[in-house]
């Protein structure tokens, strides 16, 4: 059983690996069991802004990506009572393959949903990973947010998107 919480890998992602990581007892102790599991999976789409996408190639600065995952884990723990796992894939991904997986357990569903949404928003803000899109007729590096983990406005915006219920 794999219980790695944070992972950047060229291998295909497996949701069961993340679920194992957030449902295993962290220290052999027996804390109140989780009642809710929320997961999110990002999939490679066949279209993007009107272009027919052929494949994506993900590049990452691996050690900094892992530290960013840990930072996101700390930010999540400051707001919610949850256990969280986050795996991101790098390399060539075909249409329909999973690029990112998040799993969050919590005693309560509102926390599980909120934290899971926060994590994907925060990934898009501060994790040093880049998509190279190969489409019919060309290719382009996708550029989203200037990564700045100290940007309070960005972090608050992610907390707001996550705070539905």
């Amino acid at each position: 059983m794999s219980t790695t919480r944070y992972r950047v890998t060229h291998d295909p992602l497996r949701l069961d690996d993340l679920i194992d990581a957030v449902t295993a007892s962290p220290d052999g102790d027996a804390p109140p069991g989780p009642g809710a599991l929320s997961t999110f999976v990002g999939l490679v789409r066949d279209h993007n802004v009107g272009r027919r996408v052929l494949r994506l190639e993900y590049e990452g600065y691996e050690p900094l990506a892992l530290r960013s995952f840990e930072l996101i884990g700390q930010e999540t723990a400051e707001r919610w009572n949850v256990q969280m796992a986050l795996h991101h894939r790098l390399g060539v991904l075909q249409i329909g393959e999973a690029s990112v997986m998040i799993a969050v357990t919590s005693p309560h569903r509102a926390d599980a949903f909120g934290a899971c949404r926060f994590v994907i928003e925060r990934i898009k803000q501060i994790v040093p990973i880049w998509k190279h899109e190969f489409f019919e007729g060309g290719d382009v590096w996708i550029e989203g947010a200037t990564a700045d983990p100290d940007d309070d406005g960005a972090r608050e915006s992610a907390y707001r998107l996550a705070s539905a219920g």
């Binding site: 990973i129 190279h132 989203g144």
Partner: protein, 81 residues
């Protein structure tokens, strides 16, 4: 002193390499390393206002100072997920 410069994604494409070793002055800042680099690869200049920087795989600021042997990374806007 010498630093290793790491470039990613389109910055890597524009420079034609993802890793370079360059000599910089004692007490140089990350910003000074960037100026050296942008002097050598003028195509990088358009990224000056949108890059992030890291030293030894920790996010840094343009005014952070670097030391001999440091790995200095320049990161275009990210698009993970």
């Amino acid at each position: 002193m010498q630093v290793t410069i790491r470039l990613f994604a389109r910055l890597r494409d524009l420079a034609g390499t993802g890793e370079l070793a360059r000599d910089v002055e004692e007490g140089a800042t990350v910003g000074a390393v960037w100026k050296t680099l942008a002097g050598e690869f003028p195509a990088l200049a358009e990224y000056e206002s949108s890059i992030s920087t890291a030293v030894n795989a920790e996010y840094s600021r343009m005014d952070s100072t670097v030391s001999d042997g440091d790995e200095v990374a320049f990161l275009p806007p990210v698009s993970g997920g």
